[in-house]
């Protein structure tokens, strides 16, 4: 693998997740970026480059949002780039930042992810209508929930997974979210499977409590070269592997029961991290969970479970915080909230805090030396994976 610098995560910052933030997107970016710099013990002047991830412009309602957000993200008077792969953006932002430092071009890079979904009316789902084909799908009034429902049903049918099992993801993650200080008001809590099953059916089989909510927030991390890391900290967290992969955006032309593109993204990251047995070598995973079933679907794509096996691991408690493979100890999108790009970066930040033993009440029981964060998105055909290790 040809790159010049080994890259470490030196600090992380996260705003409170909010349903309707009064702050502008720039102000949210500033708050998260300032926290990340403080936690790294560095200043903006120490940052040689800045990267920004933020999902569709239609959410904030600002066209060319990356440019709009730049000064809040510290992108002022320095090399600055936006990357964007829809829901996959938050994890991809770290891959993007990794490139900046790994290339040898920069020793430091501030990575910021922002989403302000609440300005979008009547609901961000209306913006999602316009991501589909203009003449085959849009006339049906399609939105993301539809496609999730079709995919979820296919996954459930192929593996004979009961809805009760999928509800357990909501129960677990919403409970984990109780310990997250940034969790959006009203999301986390002690729910039973019955509570989840009794929630309103949005688009069968998707029930309201199986969907992560619309959220405003920002997140940030500071990436540095090995040279800087060794000077600044005794506890460097290394970016050991990065991977991403895209499938056809023509979703009708692939089998929805299995996210092959996530597998390829994971294999790329594992190859770089020299991981041959992910089930043993990955100690915790922040798997992308915008919908309850996606956590299971993605665990399989990440090769953390055989096809159809993820529901069994969940039922056995393996993915609980005190299990052998904690999944979404942060609470994930289901338990903390889903500000698209910021949610993905929140997952990377969680792995960083877990590996440093700084996750507080969320700290997993087993000792952890290597963790994974994954996101998914674009037109439901991109997988982004980052492996961190100490």
């Amino acid at each position: 693998m040809g790159y010049k610098n080994r890259v470490a995560v030196l600090g992380a910052g996260l705003t409170k997740f909010m349903r309707r933030a009064q702050e502008t997107g720039k102000e949210l970016c500033f708050e998260a970026a300032r926290m990340a710099l403080d936690s790294a013990g560095l200043e903006l002047k120490d940052m040689e480059a800045v990267v920004m991830s933020t999902a569709p412009d239609a959410f904030d309602g600002v066209h060319m949002k990356g440019e709009y957000l730049a000064d809040g993200a510290g992108g002022f008077r320095r090399p600055y780039m936006r990357s964007y792969v829809g829901g996959g953006s938050g994890v991809f932002s770290v891959i993007h930042g990794w490139y900046h430092v790994a290339s040898g071009h920069f020793d430091t890079c501030l990575v910021v992810a922002e989403e302000k979904m609440s300005p979008c009316m009547p609901h961000p789902q209306a913006a999602f209508n316009a991501i589909y084909d203009q003449f085959t799908e849009r006339p049906l009034g399609v939105n993301l929930l539809w496609i999730f429902a079709l995919e979820m049903n296919r996954y459930m049918q192929v593996h004979k997974i009961p809805l009760e099992t999928i509800s357990l993801v909501s129960v677990k993650n919403k409970k984990n979210g109780l310990d997250h200080p940034c969790a959006q008001a009203g999301i986390p809590g002690e729910y039973t499977v019955k509570d989840i099953m009794d929630s309103e059916v949005l688009v069968w089989p998707v029930h309201r409590l199986m969907v992560s909510p619309v959220t405003d927030a920002a997140a940030a991390v500071v990436l540095v070269s090995e040279r800087v890391a060794k000077r600044m900290t005794d506890k460097p967290v290394w970016v050991e592997g990065v991977g991403w992969h895209l499938d056809s955006s023509y979703w009708t032309n692939r089998d929805l029961y299995y996210p092959k593109y996530v597998e390829y993204a994971a294999r790329m990251a594992y190859r770089m991290a020299v991981i041959t047995d992910p089930r043993k070598e990955i100690h915790l995973a922040e798997v992308y969970d915008p919908f309850a079933y996606k956590e299971l679907h993605h665990m399989e794509g990440l090769l953390l479970a055989d096809k159809g096996e993820a529901p069994r691991l969940l039922e056995k408690g393996v993915t609980q915080r005190d299990g052998d493979l904690p999944v979404c100890p942060s609470g994930g999108l289901m338990g903390v909230g889903n500000p698209i790009a910021a949610a993905g970066l929140m997952k990377v930040a969680e792995v960083f805090w877990q590996l440093r033993g700084e996750a507080g009440a969320r700290q997993v029981s087993r000792p952890v030396k290597r963790g994974l964060a994954q996101a998914w998105g674009d037109l439901m055909q991109v997988g982004t994976v980052v492996v961190l290790g100490v």
Partner: protein
């Protein structure tokens, strides 16, 4: 193939109108909320000041983008500035001819970083000029938006 896409040949191929079916509800942000409340309730211009480099920002910012620290101090700015540059609009957003040309200027204020882009009014026979001293004219009834300022006009009018 290309000829069918000329606008005057569009009737020969099937097309339809569509839009992204959303609208937006924006917030002013923490700094913006305070700025527009001051403008609405007290008719005054406020800037935020960076504790590190001392720059005063108008429109105010919650943070200094250069020093990257919070700007917690607020200062009142005298509503009298200087035309930095201007333009005269003859057509509107949809290429419609305007009944009266509209003069738009970038107005800067002494000791302030930034400034306001706004209309100029009462410019008289000689018209607008770069370097012209102008003052703010407020609407009597204000709602908390940039339109609370009617326009800037030459000082002494």
């Amino acid at each position: 193939m290309g000829v069918t896409t000329k606008p005057n040949r569009l009737e020969k191929i099937r097309t339809w109108r569509g839009s992204v079916p959303v609208w937006h509800q924006y917030t002013l942000g923490l700094a913006g909320e305070r700025f527009f409340r001051e403008l609405k309730d007290r008719g005054r211009l406020m800037a935020s000041r960076c504790p590190r480099c001392g720059a005063a920002y108008l429109l105010p910012k919650l943070y200094c983008p250069a020093c990257f620290v919070a700007c917690e101090e607020w200062v009142e700015i005298k509503p009298r500035g200087v035309v930095d540059t201007f333009t005269v609009l003859h057509e509107g957003l949809e290429e419609e001819e305007l009944k009266e040309p509209v003069v738009v200027a970038f107005v800067t204020f002494p000791g302030v970083k930034g400034g306001l882009v706004h209309r100029l009014g009462e410019v008289g026979r000689d018209g607008p000029a770069v370097g012209m001293e102008v003052e703010m004219v407020l609407r009597p009834e204000r709602r908390g938006g940039l339109d609370d300022i009617l326009y800037f006009r030459p000082v002494g009018k």
